[in-house]
Symmetry: C2
Subunit: 704 residues, 2 copies
């Protein structure tokens, strides 16, 4: 990448003469203002097309030495510059991404302590990013942040789409409410989780989606979370002001800093059209360019897995009931009687491989393959897994050879049980074991409370670990899909081997009692702002009771809704999560999953309203092929879209849509598949059921 | 090792019929009794030659689930057995060690919770060891110990030789006082340390040495501390009852347990002759046999080091003053101006190697060789060292080749700055770097508060780390000498590559203001009960001001006291810690350090009184050569010993003793060296000064 920033001008001011500093976005529609309030207190505000998005909001830090960086500031000087570059992601929703912004770097000085703090603002046409920067200085050499005081002052009692703030999980259903209603709804929104730590009756997580009564869509999040705690937002619900709330360490400290250093970017994406929120690349643009020199080994992947049968309770991760507990390295499984419900048997895995291979999949995940699952969770057990020792009925070499022969790449599973030291101690051996056995991607898991006790999933110490695992994996040319890790913030630009994250309520909850039918209509506005999610869609059998008589869960979507997710829930890693035998009952609908691409030249956001619906079209990377996904929420509706994103030409569209009486609860498996000729002038009208959706594949007539 | 324990008899009792269970030591002089007190409360007591050593004392545990294992117990049965085996240590004070004891395993059941706990007692002629054992059971599968309730009830207001209980350091001077005086003396005894956490005004550390008014010497400690927190003792100073006080984790929990499991052994060494405390091998005998199959690469070592010049402030570990802080991997030292006081320069190291080689040493330690020392301490900095990158003026390859040519083995230094995760992350690369550059031993350091904040040096999490480092080192055939780690508990039997520990106030404190002249007359009774100490003796120049004008410390020993330590302070790793130029001024005295052995066939404890004096003779391993060390405390005295440990024959003894006006403060460097013919019938009378001592080498006349 060449020199990106062109310095437009650099002014020096006498501290006493500082006026408000203003900055416009390239198209002039966003305007921000930096100002020192009385007492030298830094603040900012933001407007969009003249409407206030962020009212004057304070900036600064509290430090462990009982001083603050919130007041007594003077502006030493302000540097202005602009950026307009286009970069090529290794994979993504687009094959090239433009980053176009104006920048203002405000150099602040606090005379009382003779120390400096800079705030860098980047204003794009789709939103604002800003971060704190601490130049190298003896007066702020090593320091501890006890609170970040960044405010996001809302202009009214907006509608928010939120999940409870929590130091350990994001696996909650979303609540839509007025800001003033959050406090009253908080308790009910904190549903049970294996590890959870809430902190405030008005604390919520980012990415937070908001909608104003005058039609603005606002998204608050962060970008490039590196060596800093994850930020939550705590609401002053009298004044509708959010303040950043960092995840603490066991001592209540937030961040250990060493200058020169920066915080992550705080982001405000804004538009009067909800589709622009989905189209925003601001989060990626605020991350550093790719740091991996050779990315040839990184590839999107469509996969199946021996997984849903365990999630539903049809089979199990564990092997035997004979052990009160396991000692890795000492427990001898070879003499133990299997309980007969182990999912990851060589035979069963081969059955999945056969099906995946016959249907053109790339990868195969197997959970529960390695010893230790008999007592893996909830015991604060240090060495819970070793990541290299298979159960007696899982033949690593045989499966390796079988998968290779069938053209399937095996995907490793590393459940850490949140025993972080144990994982780091075994990491080299575990990654090497993968390479030796033909695995080039790993799904890692962090289920349960962090070990050692006292740490949380989202504090600085843990955030550091997740990136360490990704960086070390890159050394081995291994791709990472981390579950229960901290939510993504666009780091996949810098480390594109981070091909997936969970960090939200995934499909598994459909087997844990069900998620709201609207769930996937809000995730692209929230969780996916930071990066792709391994949502694991494709569940065709709604009645989990059929798989496991002890499980009465119901999957709250229609079958076509499941198909739509392959387009609307962007991920370079897409799973067909259901069982082969369930797909075999619906092979005509399964054809869409077989066909759908996982990497794209371009994406168009055709319809969108948070928690209601979204319709997305994408062009397959390097191929004249387009897919459309329409995901609907609880209210039946008719999607009306134009195909004007197509080049002039003649095409055939294969449309998978809900049957006329479809309903996520009563009649989820009815669908219609039809073909029609289309051109760039075609308008499509597709009815979608409650919890429904549709999916379309379009190819040129010639290539049909 | 063959089947060691011969079951003498196993009785089964009805719970209601249980009488006190008694056990005698092999020679019958020690007798212990296990008894259930009212309410089914387990207790024990111990006598020596009819005198009570431990009055009835309670046993048990408190658990996290708010239940205890302290009462409601019944005795299910008692197994009795005996052991008499002789084993061969890889190195040590003896070339073979006899372990001879009677054992009683008491199986307890707590009906209220249907759970079992065993207590295993081993009674040797020199003392008692007992531990808790938790059989595999679903009712105690995973459990958390919040307190261990083991008591050691003293029979009166004994004299104790103690240092303050502390979760982070043992680097204190010893205080001799009555038990009743501990509380009043505690505050003054807690001298400053870089990391320290005291917990109780009557809390003390083990190994605790005690003396009763009727002449019993009692030592309380623990053996085989593995995956459990380090035990302190907290005194009820009204009743003179010590209770175990475990080092907590950041949540206040003590130990995470998984059955089957055991605690470390709690030990009571006792005699009416102080010399027997020193001769006891009970701590080693309670540890597991060697777990390293090939020990051929483990070797005792006499070494010098580029170290004392940094400790005194004459030179420095760091390289430059130009850095406000260091970022490993980013800071480029090659362009920085050195401050000129860096000790670990190639040239300086070569000078030390020359001197060490000329004088027959084996090894050479160099501290401050690797980048990061400019800001290594006190910043809660995560990645403080990488353990592989040298300063620009330390040429690893050149020194490797030079040392090899001169017959010197380089000793690596890994200061971790207590950043544990960082060390574990770099450990493989660091150990491999050692092997690649001819280092087969490492001195590791854990200076400062543990990172992450909230952990302590001696809790279960950290104890686990220290052993991990030793085990991993063994994989690389590397010997470990860990400083600031948890105090040793005889684990060097199981892992003989653990060739040294500090874990006490070492010689360095003589340059930090000085230690008590009696210090080395108590350490063998306390710290060394658990294993050898890298005390780093051999300081010939008392006036530190001569090395560094800004340091007014004084070494509170005579020169001959320093010589004596090579015999009295047993270690397979012995340093000649002073500078070559200081030795060059006293080459006749230095001859003793050149001559003295570091591995032994046998040892004799000729005179001993804690905090007063001790005199030890040892026979060089595999050689007709004997050494005697006499270390004296604050009172001048005449040592009178018989050489009857010698085989019948004619010998020449070379005696290094304090000059007649010697005194540690006023006249420390005066000494006499003389030779005389001796036989096994010779009695030696040697006067020793205040803070003085003497050293003797004896060889057959023929071999002189």
């Amino acid at each position: 990448m060449k020199h990106l920033f062109k310095t437009l001008c650099a002014f020096c001011f006498f501290a006493s003469a500082v006026q408000a500093q203003e900055l416009l976005s390239p198209n002039g529609e966003l305007a921000m203002k930096f100002e020192l309030q009385d007492g030298g207190r830094p603040s900012y505000s933001l407007t969009y097309k003249g409407k206030t998005v962020i009212a004057p909001s304070m900036l600064g830090m509290k430090l462990k030495d009982n001083t603050t960086l919130c007041d007594g500031m003077t502006v030493e000087n302000v540097e202005r510059s602009s950026q307009d570059e286009t970069w090529t992601p290794v994979w993504g929703e687009e094959n090239s991404i433009r980053s176009h912004c104006n920048e203002m770097l405000v150099h602040l000085k606090q005379d009382s302590h003779n120390r400096r703090m800079d705030i860098r603002f980047r204003l794009f046409d789709d939103g604002l990013g800003f971060r704190y920067e601490f130049p190298l200085q003896r007066e702020l050499n090593y320091f501890v942040i006890t609170d970040e005081c960044t405010q996001f002052a809302m202009t009214g009692d907006h509608t928010a789409y939120w999940i409870p703030g929590d130091y350990d999980t994001q696996e909650y259903d979303y609540t839509r409410s007025r800001l003033s209603e959050i406090r009253g709804l908080m308790e009910a929104s904190i549903t049970d989780n294996l590890s959870q730590t809430s902190f405030s009756p008005t604390g919520v997580q980012t990415a937070l989606m908001l909608k104003t009564d005058d039609g603005l869509y606002i998204n608050l999040h962060e970008a490039a979370l590196v060596n800093y705690p994850c930020m939550h937002l705590n609401l002053d619900d009298k004044n509708f002001v959010f303040t950043s709330w960092l995840t603490p360490d066991p001592n209540g400290d937030k961040a250990y800093m060493q200058s020169p250093c920066t915080t992550p970017w705080r982001t405000v994406i804004v538009s009067d059209d909800a589709r622009d929120i989905l189209a925003s690349r601001l989060t990626l643009n605020l991350n550093e360019p790719c740091k991996i020199a050779d990315t040839s080994w990184i590839h999107p992947c469509k996969y199946m897995g021996v997984w849903w049968e365990m999630i539903t309770g049809m089979s199990d991760w564990s092997y035997t009931n004979e052990l009160p507990n396991v000692r890795i390295g000492q427990t001898d499984y070879s003499t133990l009687k299997p309980h007969g419900r182990h999912g990851a048997t060589t035979e069963n895995v081969k059955r999945y491989i056969d099906f995946a291979s016959e249907n053109g999949f790339d990868g195969m995940l197997v959970e529960g393959w390695n010893i230790g699952w008999e007592d893996w969770f909830g015991n604060f057990k240090d060495e819970v897994f070793d990541f290299v020792t298979p159960y007696p009925d899982f033949n690593v070499a045989e499966i390796r050879d079988y998968a290779r022969q069938k053209g399937i790449k095996m995907i490793m599973h590393h459940e850490t049980s949140a025993s972080i030291r144990n994982y780091e101690r075994h990491m080299d051996a575990a990654y090497q074991f993968m390479k030796d056995n033909g695995y080039d991607a790993v799904k890692s898991g962090y289920v349960g409370s962090i070990i050692p006790k006292g740490q949380n999933h989202y504090n600085q110490w843990q955030v550091n670990h997740y990136l360490y695992a990704v960086q070390k994996a890159a050394d081995y040319k291994i791709m990472v899909n981390a579950h229960e890790a901290v939510r993504p913030t666009g780091l996949c630009r810098t480390y594109p081997n981070l091909i997936g994250n969970e960090s939200a309520r995934g499909t598994e909850y459909q087997a844990f009692g069900g998620s709201k039918p609207s769930h996937t209509t809000i995730l692209p506005f929230t969780r996916l702002i930071g990066g792709p999610m391994d949502y694991t869609p494709g569940i065709f059998e709604n009645d989990i009771h059929k798989l496991n008589p002890n499980n009465n869960s119901w999957v709250n979507t229609t079958l076509c809704n499941q198909l739509s997710l392959y387009v609307t829930m962007y991920s370079p890693l897409q799973m067909a999560a259901d069982l082969p035998q369930n797909y075999e009952r619906f092979m005509d609908a399964f054809q869409f999953i077989k066909d759908v691409a996982v990497d794209w030249d371009h994406s168009w956001y055709l319809e969108a309203e948070p928690m209601e619906y979204l319709t997305v079209a994408r062009k397959t990377k390097g191929k004249d092929e387009w897919f459309i996904g329409g995901t609907n929420g609880e209210q039946p509706r008719t999607s009306v879209i134009s195909l004007d994103f197509l080049p002039k030409g003649k095409y055939v569209a294969t449309i998978y849509k809900d049957g006329k009486d479809a309903h996520y609860k009563n009649n989820p498996q009815t669908y219609d598949i039809s073909q029609q000729k289309v051109t760039e002038k075609t308008k499509l009208k597709v009815w979608t059921a409650a919890g429904g959706g549709y999916a379309v594949r379009i190819v040129p007539v010639a290539s049909k």
